[in-house]
Symmetry: D3
Subunit: 140 residues, 6 copies
């Protein structure tokens, strides 16, 4: 288990990868209730900017959250995110992972907040989303 004290500025983490399938897009549309035709209508998507259905931005973030090693951190709470930008599409069959770097540490009364500069990248090493992820952790 890693605590607030255990992280060092500049430390890097590269996660495992997960492929995004058509089933993932159906499941996320279902769970979120966001059935926008960009994600769920083959005919509509054919005529759109990508020529095919793409994954929801929030799907990409949700999968990234499962790839991040939060289970090995003494998480107090998910504090927030800064400047989340979706910079490329995630298509069916793409495989994504997350590259994180400790950017900042802020001590708080209870625990502290670690900020991770994070890139969600596909199998071609293209960024699909960039964000600063802020997690509140227990101190030792």
């Amino acid at each position: 288990m890693r605590y607030f004290d255990d992280f060092e500025i500049g430390e890097k983490i590269v996660t495992k990868s997960r492929s995004i399938t058509e089933a993932d897009i159906v499941l996320f549309s279902a769970f979120s209730g966001d059935w926008h035709q960009l994600h769920t209508d083959i005919e509509f998507a054919k005529k759109g900017p990508f020529g095919e259905r793409i994954a929801h931005g929030f799907l990409v973030l949700a999968v990234a959250s499962g790839l991040m090693p939060l289970g090995e951190m003494a998480v107090l709470a998910f504090y927030g995110m800064d400047k989340v930008r979706f910079v490329g599409p995630t298509k069916i069959g793409d495989t994504i992972h997350v590259e994180m770097e400790v950017l900042e540490k802020q001590e708080k009364e209870k625990g502290g907040v670690v900020s991770f500069k994070s890139s969600i990248r596909n199998q071609k090493e293209e960024d699909v989303a960039i964000l600063t992820m802020k997690v509140a952790l227990h101190k030792k």
Copy 2:
């Protein structure tokens, strides 16, 4: 269908509501792969700061994305988010909705980006998350 041109600074939108159930937490843990014990272990959660399991931050965002009327907008892409902060827990049985206000409009070569100051609020009108949501829309 609403286009970039149709939104006015200061315009407000209040969405419908959805209750967050134990099943939602199981489904989101499953989909995301984030089985942190804060969300999925009754015994662990009893001893934690909230005394019970709470919803994932990304679950709250995913549900909010389905509540937002994106299906009625001429969405080009999900541009990103600024300053997302989780300011209160969402517990099993809570019912959340989103209150949005048009904060800013930025014209781009293709379409434009509308920024919505957004509060995700529960049935007691408490904020559970606040964020600026940025959506790229087609022009008419």
Copy 3:
């Protein structure tokens, strides 16, 4: 395997039962995309005619279709339904089964259509839906 020839007018079938849980309502809302607040918003439902969330009519039909012994029939196609009426609510924790009676047999060029007068009933033996179910079966 039972064929068109094997059914007799007046024959009765009583299926097993399945309880309808909160999870079923969440799953069906997700799958269908019908998140009407009657089914998914605790606060909204409190003020409605039933005082609580109720199952979707199509959820009740979908569960009934799984309870019916279609797997033991030489099904050619689902032909259709006549006069489907939802006559009572299905609440979380209710347990439903189907009672079917062969009403009519119509021979067709390929196989034949068997019509089952069907009642979907809860644990108090109250009807929640009544319908005539029409299934096209192979001949021997």
Copy 4:
């Protein structure tokens, strides 16, 4: 929100579309418990009338119910359906929408019932199911 009073005989509604994927067929088999080999066994389906797996009739209806704008109607209850007929198969990759026309309005003590003649159609504008959908709505 549209009430009983707001609908006029002859009024038409065309819904958005949703593609039916292999994942949808797996999810509906799972939810309903109807694992008939027509829907779930590639080898069995190869030898059947369509040469491949097809969607369940109730899957098509469930998806149609989510496409219909029930969320914008002041729904009292799902009253029922008349003469539902499955007139063509829905295959993996097909994209369906619903075309509805107000056929009849019946005033009741509490609210009233609006009957919609409905066609569920695929991307080739072929009918896959036709039915009369009857929804009980609040009066203003």
Copy 5:
């Protein structure tokens, strides 16, 4: 309903079949929380012994349990399994069924345990798993 008394040593059962889809692998990864890259990462699996993603061993067993006619047995409890061996991969698009033979019957104070020598086989009649399945049944 079949009881302990109704089974005879040497009796054989061949179940229906079910195809294993990509959606099944995503759903089982999600439910179990076992997102091992053998099952969920296209790029990782390409370099592995099978050249593609394969189904989880427990997915194969879970599907087999649904194919077995347990619903027609007067089950007291699932007693256990002996010598479970995974002898071949199950790939996306494979169709599996179970062949069972009554190997042994052990009378107990309450009911008795029937042991089924079981082979889970694919559409090429290759064994993918072999096991002895032990089910406790009621006596008549």
Copy 6:
């Protein structure tokens, strides 16, 4: 990543825990197709030996497989299991974890098989299942 060489006879692993909810039982019934009334019918289960619905044996094994740290092992394949016995019920709201001990190591041409004596235990430290889990791992 841990290889065949890294495990020592007698080494112990205690996993994290996960609570088993009603939603888990619905999801596993759905996925597996095993809708036995022991698991899914409140009224039936009331009259049974446990007085309430219990989790499927295979559900317990599937959840255990996700709790085991397989993701940190250089898994070649899931080899099999010996003597699996379900020794106690898992009820809705129970929280299970796995305690594993390395029992045996068998070198093979490609890699080797590590056998883990495993107990799946609930929050009261009662065994619910015991088994020997056999995993084929890469050598370094």
